[in-house]
């Protein structure tokens, strides 16, 4: 049974995961001036563990996942809440919690459980009810509870991506377009109120995004140096391990949020484009699975996972190339850091699972 399932796994998706992650390992090797320490080796080990985890998730009975979707969501919320509590009563604000020796950011996990919860919700309700206002209450609760937890952390980037993720899923689920426009208008109106909650350092990030040259050694510094790294790479790049910007420590956070610029410097426009194409391919595979799937639960999981991935990749590259303010979003599978990789692997494990069960007629246990 298990062997049969494993044989039917989407090997293109797994191959893409491996390829992207190994690009990440090469980038981290270069970021450490040609050393496996301190990042590349860790990254590799994590990748193997999480890939194993993803495959486990892919062969779990989908009905089981469906059954406990809300429970999993609530558990993840409790985890997120506990981080808040520790933050308040402990040694100051934190976003991490240690589980099995691994620092986990519950907000990253919550994104996946949101997908599960929304998928289950829309799978369960009748089609005619989708457009009813009263049926919007649940999805809003599912989205805004974690959103509020995250924004008071404060983690602007994650909060923003939760909202966008929700919008994408609700859009696919069939919410009428005018409701999105209405919601959009409401959020525009509420921006002045939201601004009061934004911390000064976030304000300065936004200002430096609008005019990076205003403070070239302060907040704008990252962006300028990031663009110099990308631009000096040219078409084919300076060559592996030859990126001067990172080697000479001009690049800030080169192993996390700015790893894309390092790769862009060393491998040029072709390298940047290659990475984008790999992610497009990965996202396309998810879309393919979504279309192929018979049931709404699976469709929404696949779209949700693809959207989650898309939001990371797009926001990260837009950020380092100066299309967006620096909000602290890593590049999944490539940036150093366990939580994002874990969350992406879980979500893609779910997608693999959906594909194996694409033709299920009923998700409820008989």
């Amino acid at each position: 049974m298990i062997i049969k399932k494993l044989k039917n796994l989407n090997f293109l998706l797994i191959f893409l995961l491996i390829l992207i992650s190994f690009i990440g390992i090469a980038g981290l090797y270069s970021a450490a001036d040609g050393s496996y320490e301190p990042w590349a080796l860790n990254h590799l080990v994590r990748f193997y563990i999480f890939l194993f985890l993803a495959i486990i998730i892919s062969i779990i009975d989908l009905k089981l996942i469906y059954k406990y979707s809300y429970l999993i969501f609530i558990l993840s919320l409790l985890l997120l809440f506990s981080v808040e509590i520790i933050g308040v009563f402990g040694k100051g604000a934190t976003r991490w919690i240690k589980i099995l020796g691994l620092s986990i950011q519950p907000s990253e996990i919550v994104k996946i459980t949101i997908i599960l919860a929304l998928a289950k919700f829309y799978h369960d309700i009748k089609y005619i009810n989708v457009s009813k206002i009263s049926y919007l209450f649940m999805p809003f609760l599912i989205l805004f509870t974690p959103f509020i937890f995250v924004i008071i952390q404060p983690d602007l980037g994650t909060a923003l991506s939760i909202i966008i993720l929700g919008v994408f899923i609700l859009f696919i689920a069939g919410i009428k377009l005018w409701k999105f426009i209405f919601g959009f208008l409401i959020s525009i109106i509420s921006i002045p109120i939201a601004l009061q909650f934004i911390k000064p350092y976030q304000k300065s990030r936004i200002i430096s995004f609008l005019n990076p040259d205003s403070d070239p050694l302060g907040q704008g510094y990252q962006l300028i140096q990031s663009k110099i790294a990308l631009g000096s790479g040219g078409i084919t790049g300076k060559g592996f391990l030859k990126g001067t910007q990172s080697y000479l420590e001009f690049l800030p956070e080169k192993q996390t949020d700015f790893i894309f610029t390092l790769i862009g410097e060393e491998f040029g426009y072709l390298g940047s484009l290659f990475i984008i194409l790999l992610f497009i391919l990965l996202i396309s595979v998810c879309y393919f699975i979504s279309i192929k799937c018979f049931h709404i639960f699976g469709k929404l999981i696949a779209i949700g996972a693809a959207s989650n991935l898309f939001i990371y990749v797009f926001m990260n590259i837009a950020m380092v190339s100066g299309l967006m303010p620096v909000v602290g979003i890593p590049l999944p599978l490539i940036s150093y850091g366990g939580s994002v990789m874990l969350s992406i692997m879980i979500s893609l494990g779910l997608v693999l699972n959906v594909e194996l069960n694409y033709n299920l007629k009923k998700l409820e246990y008989a």
Binding site: I228, S232, L248, Y269, I283, A318, S321, G322
Partner: protein
């Protein structure tokens, strides 16, 4: 769920999925376009910025050219010195380091505070200079206690040294950091810290002496720390310069002059125009100006009434006194006012206009012809011939002999002096020339002002039978000068007279004659203070010990050897009394010295 409903729902799903997919692809396209913009379209701009980020230029300062005298004696050199530096990041505590350092070398409180302040301003790995030019003793102590002195280290630099101190000060000048205006000088280029010549030959020859800067391209990281050297172009040393000056003569002369308060001596090789000696006293020690702190020394120089910074040889202006009589005599002979046998009778004074003009010899010289008049420096004879010549003719000849001229001797700020004529007075004072002023000018007094170098050049021209001798401070044996044939005959008569001044009884410099080497010359005594009638009438005004600053300047110009002249000299001792008593004996000693050494 109804079948049609489900189908509708799936249709909606697929439509929206397709739409969302399209949205994502177009957003990725946007990012791709943005990256194209940065990585391809604007790539060259970012490549330059990246280079600027990583590469720093470090200038390697060239070593300044050495200066030698004509016999390859080093008179301006560069000494390796050792400076003490502190690197903040190399020590755990700057205070501790300074404490242990103060056991070996005195660090006063304000200096200590300055160092600590500075260390908080500069980057942690940057050097802070604490002491300059360490003595060998300190250097040894610090070297042997290195392990106790965290963050302290020693670095080499060059210090300009003038080993003969005050002997060459006015010639060489000194070097120092450039001021705001000098920063735009071409040879400074990228070296705002380069020390450049501020005075004298050091200044004039800056473009040659400075040399060429080298440079080192170094890769630096974001905090400016040097990672590695990319390229290195060595600096090119400044060129060496050989002066016409003879160290031995110069040293001998300065020591001679040092027995007087102020004076100047110039010796010229009349064949080549090379200046063997250009001395001016009082002088100063350029080393004390270069080495900091120099404030006290500067103040002492500036407050000295005798202005030691002035190079009297080219900047001191003196009435030439009787040394000017050669010019007047040549003019008179040239214009046929006298010939070598015409005579005038000196009765000690003549009356002209409503004034009396005295000869230095109160009782008069009696009947004089031109050679005798020069030999005994009879004033009346020259009053008579000046009267007939007129000032303009005298001035014309004076200019032919280099007076009121500057020379291309590579020294800045030469003073021209004054050779007056009618036009000059009109322009300068808006007054007509008085005939009586011609008489005064005829004995080298009044408006006439010359610098000592001009007098030496004048003498050189006479000694070389009218060659256009051009003085130079740079060694050059190949100078050949054309002869001015205008005054050939007149000069012969003058030279005869100049020989008699030194070598015949009654000659004004007879007491200074040398037996083995015959030289010729002319004494001069130039008045500083007008002698009043009452003073003149009191018979002993000449003998009276006068206040130094009121005493006459003593002058002597001459050449040697007499029969085949090689060297011309001018000697001026400020307030030295008379030329015969003070200046001529100095010239004698110098000629004697020159004849004894091998030049």
């Amino acid at each position: 769920m109804l079948f049609s409903d489900q189908k509708k729902q799936v249709n909606l799903f697929n439509r929206r999925t397709f739409f969302l997919y399209l949205l994502k692809i177009s957003l990725f396209t946007l990012v791709g376009w943005r990256l194209y913009n940065i990585q391809i379209f604007n790539s060259s701009k970012y490549k330059t910025l990246s280079k600027q980020n990583q590469i720093d230029l470090e200038i390697i300062f060239p070593v300044r050219g050495k200066i030698f005298d004509r016999n390859k004696n080093l008179i301006a050199r560069n000494q390796k010195v050792y400076d003490l530096y502190l690197i903040p990041e190399k020590t755990k505590s700057i205070n501790n380091t300074l404490n242990s350092l103060s056991k070996f070398i005195d660090i006063d409180f304000s200096k200590r505070r300055k160092i600590i302040q500075l260390s908080s301003k500069v980057k942690k790995f940057q050097k802070i200079k604490i002491f300059e030019n360490l003595s060998w003793k300190t250097l040894e102590i610090i070297e042997s206690n290195k392990y106790n002195l965290q963050g302290i280290f020693i670095s080499e630099d060059y210090l300009r040294v003038y080993p003969y101190k005050e002997i060459f000060s006015h010639l060489l000048g000194y070097i120092s950091k450039p001021n705001q205006q000098e920063l735009s000088l071409p040879f400074i280029s990228k070296m705002p810290n380069l020390e450049i010549g501020k005075e004298g030959l050091e200044k004039t020859f800056n473009p040659i002496l400075v040399g060429k800067a080298g440079q080192r391209e170094i890769e630096v990281n974001s905090s400016g720390r040097v990672i590695r050297e990319i390229s290195k172009v060595e600096s090119v040393k400044g060129e060496e310069i050989y002066l016409s000056i003879d160290l031995r003569v110069q040293e001998y002369v300065v020591n001679l002059l040092n027995s007087y308060r102020a004076g100047s001596v110039n010796v010229i090789n009349i064949k080549t125009g090379e200046i063997l000696c250009m001395a001016s006293t009082p002088t100063y020690d350029p080393n004390k100006i270069i080495q900091k702190p120099n404030t006290l020394y500067w103040e002492s120089l500036l407050s000295n009434n005798l202005s030691p910074l002035t190079n009297r040889s080219i900047q001191g202006l003196y009435a030439p006194g009787s040394t000017f009589k050669m010019i007047v005599a040549i003019a008179a002979l040239k214009h046929g006012i006298i010939n070598n046998s015409s005579t005038h009778t000196c009765s000690g004074k003549i009356e002209y206009g409503d004034r009396l003009y005295h000869c230095w010899k109160t009782n008069g010289h009696g009947k004089m012809h031109v050679v005798d008049a020069i030999k005994q420096s009879c004033d009346v004879f020259f009053y008579e011939i000046s009267k007939q010549l007129g000032i303009d003719k005298i001035a014309e000849v004076a200019k032919d002999f280099g007076l009121s001229q500057t020379f291309e001797i590579s020294l800045p700020n030469q003073k021209k002096g004054i050779i007056p004529n009618k036009k000059w007075k009109k322009n300068k004072m808006g007054e007509s020339w008085y005939a009586g002023e011609t008489l005064i000018a005829g004995i080298g007094q009044g408006f006439v002002l010359t610098n000592p170098l001009q007098l030496a050049v004048m003498t050189s021209i006479i000694a070389s039978d009218g060659k256009y001798v051009k003085p130079t401070l740079v060694k050059n044996n190949n100078n050949v000068f054309k002869t001015n044939k205008k005054y050939l005959n007149e000069i012969q008569i003058i030279k005869k007279a100049l020989f008699k001044v030194v070598n015949e009884k009654k000659g004004t410099a007879y007491n200074s004659r040398l037996e083995d080497i015959k030289f010729a010359g002319k004494t001069g005594t130039s008045q500083v203070k007008r002698i009043t009638l009452s003073e003149r009438e009191s018979d002993d005004f000449r003998k009276k010990e006068q206040e130094w600053k009121n005493r006459d300047h003593a002058l002597f110009v001459g050449y040697m050897p007499h029969d085949e002249p090689k060297y011309a000299i001018s000697v001026i001792i400020e307030h030295g009394g008379s030329g015969a008593s003070t200046a001529a004996p100095i010239a004698k000693q110098i000629f004697n010295f020159i004849s004894k050494i091998e030049l």
